[in-house]
């Protein structure tokens, strides 16, 4: 053994550090998941307990749902147009342009509408939700509610998560309509496909089950993204910086959750 070996032996093995880091990361993920599940349970319990504050609920419906209509319509129209343009150039190669309608319709209703609606709601509404709740937490407004014998989960979180659960499926429907319109616009007026072909082909291949699949996904995603925003905001600590960090993490977690859930929902419906 050389001297340097002797010296380095009491030092920490870099491998141990790596294992520790990975382990802490895994523990963190499970802690977050546990926190989310227990918050979801408590939200469900408080959602059915009186008093029902309809005013708060409708305010959130308005904010999450009505406020996102324009954004979702625009996103939907352009997604449909992009998809129609791309699939047209592919289908053109083997003369299957008539399939552009159903291709757009199936992709939009099953996948694009729920995923993009949820992402738009995350971006627009959940970021605001997380910042607002985080600010209320760090300025003791949440404690103030509690000392006034008003349950903050019931007062603040229940309406927000219910709004996500109910409004994202509705936005998904709007996205469906906008996406189909976008696809139609590219295929028929721009590329010269006949209206009859577009409509008939789409009608033949698009089943109500496809739309239901999208709506079910929308409900799940809406619930998840608002739950994550509420969880991060409600547990924010340490002033303006903490609120900023909470919002960043909420956005990242919510977007990731949408794609992960989307994969498993796909397995459930088509696996």
């Amino acid at each position: 053994m050389t001297t340097s070996d002797l010296e380095s032996s009491p030092k920490r093995n870099p491998l141990v550090g790596l294992v520790e880091g990975v382990g802490n990361g895994v523990i963190g993920i499970f802690q977050t998941l546990g926190g989310l599940v227990s918050l979801a349970a408590s939200i469900m319990v408080w959602a059915v307990r009186p008093p029902y504050r309809l005013q708060n609920l409708f305010a959130q419906f308005d904010f999450v749902g009505v406020g996102s209509i324009v954004l979702v319509s625009l996103t939907g129209t352009f997604s449909g147009m992009v998809f129609a343009t791309q699939s047209w150039s592919a289908f053109e190669l083997f003369g299957a342009e008539s399939l552009v309608g159903p291709t757009v319709a199936l992709t939009v209703t099953r996948e694009l509408a729920p995923v993009f609606s949820a992402l738009m709601v995350t971006m627009r509404a959940c970021s605001a939700m997380c910042t607002e709740l985080g600010t209320m937490r760090v300025t003791e407004q949440v404690d103030a509610l509690e000392t006034m014998a008003v349950n903050p989960v019931q007062y603040l979180l229940v309406p927000r998560v219910l709004a996500g659960l109910c409004m994202v499926p509705l936005l998904t429907m709007i996205f469906d309509a906008a996406g189909l319109f976008g696809g139609f616009f590219v295929a028929v007026p721009l590329k010269g496909l006949s209206v009859g072909t577009f409509v008939l082909r789409t009608q033949n291949l698009l089943a109500p089950a496809d739309i239901w699949e999208g709506l079910a996904k929308g409900a799940l995603f809406g619930f998840t993204v608002t739950l994550i925003a509420c969880y991060r905001g409600y547990n924010a600590r340490g002033g303006a910086k903490g609120v900023g960090q909470a919002t960043t993490r909420a956005m990242v977690d919510a977007a990731l959750a949408v794609f992960i859930e989307d994969y498993f929902m796909g397995l459930l419906f088509h696996g």
Binding site: T135, M136, T139, E140, D143, E146
Partner: protein, 254 residues
């Protein structure tokens, strides 16, 4: 005098212990707050003042000990009973903690809407009355961000007393305020006791303000109450840490 002494205290903390991990914050607190009196819990930062106050209103559960509020031990209570007990409290927060999305009127009337079935006119009358007690007029339609720090504190008190609580808690009411506003807030605490006959608990590290508003000062040091009594007596209490703390204000000469 003897009749008053026989009355049980409004708040009685008995042998209270609380640790967060290895951090032993409260190590055996005993404190009685008499009905209708103002008790200041004085201590430096990190002495456990806020933790002690959170136990009084049931926001934290102790590791050991009793917290008796108006004759009931709140430590073993479940959420539903705690909510009932919390209606006996009003709390004024350090940063006022007014709901910033609501006007002053909506802030003050909040608890009435949640917990009473009063009509709109009755609510309006009650809000006006409470705002008058704290010395504010014509601010109902303003938002908290449009008020000065001292006014926000007063709105915070109006909100805290709107359900006619028996106890009002103040969390560091004068921290971060300029001397004139501090004076204004001290007056508010003295007036609240005289007009509302409530029991008040103030946590503070502000010596001058504590001596002005208190009937009794309890000095909290390292998780224990090491000295307590009326302010005049406390100035001559021999406890070294207390004297060290008081010298910061009164100077070493006295």
């Amino acid at each position: 005098m003897s009749a008053a002494q026989k009355k049980p205290p409004m708040i009685s903390v008995q042998d209270l212990w609380k640790s967060f991990g290895d951090n032993h914050v409260l190590t055996g607190i005993d404190l009685d707050v008499e009905e209708g009196s103002t008790c200041v819990i004085l201590g430096g930062s990190g002495s456990g003042k806020t933790v002690l106050m959170k136990h009084m209103i049931g926001l934290l559960k102790p590791d050991r000990g009793k917290v008796i509020v108006d004759g009931e031990d709140i430590v073993p209570m479940d959420d539903r009973d705690l909510e009932r007990v919390r209606r006996k409290f009003g709390m004024v927060f350090q940063g006022s903690a007014l709901f910033d999305s609501m006007t002053v009127y909506e802030n003050v009337s909040f608890a009435l809407r949640e917990h009473s079935t009063l009509s709109e006119e009755e609510i309006r009358a009650r809000v006006r009355e409470k705002l008058a007690i704290v010395g504010l007029q014509n601010v109902e339609e303003r938002f908290p961000a449009e008020l000065s720090g001292g006014m926000r504190k007063r709105v915070g008190l109006a909100r805290a007393i709107v359900l006619d609580p028996k106890i009002v808690l103040y969390d560091e009411p004068t921290t971060g305020l300029d001397p004139i506003t501090t004076d204004y807030v001290d007056d508010m605490i003295v007036t609240a006791k005289a007009e509302l006959h409530v029991t008040q608990v103030v946590i503070s590290h502000d010596i001058a303000s504590s001596f002005k508003v208190a009937d009794k000062v309890a000095f909290l040091f390292k998780g224990k109450i090491v000295a307590e009594g009326p302010p005049q007596e406390l100035r001559h209490d021999p406890h070294p840490e207390l004297q060290h703390f008081l010298q910061m204000w009164f100077g070493k000469g006295e």
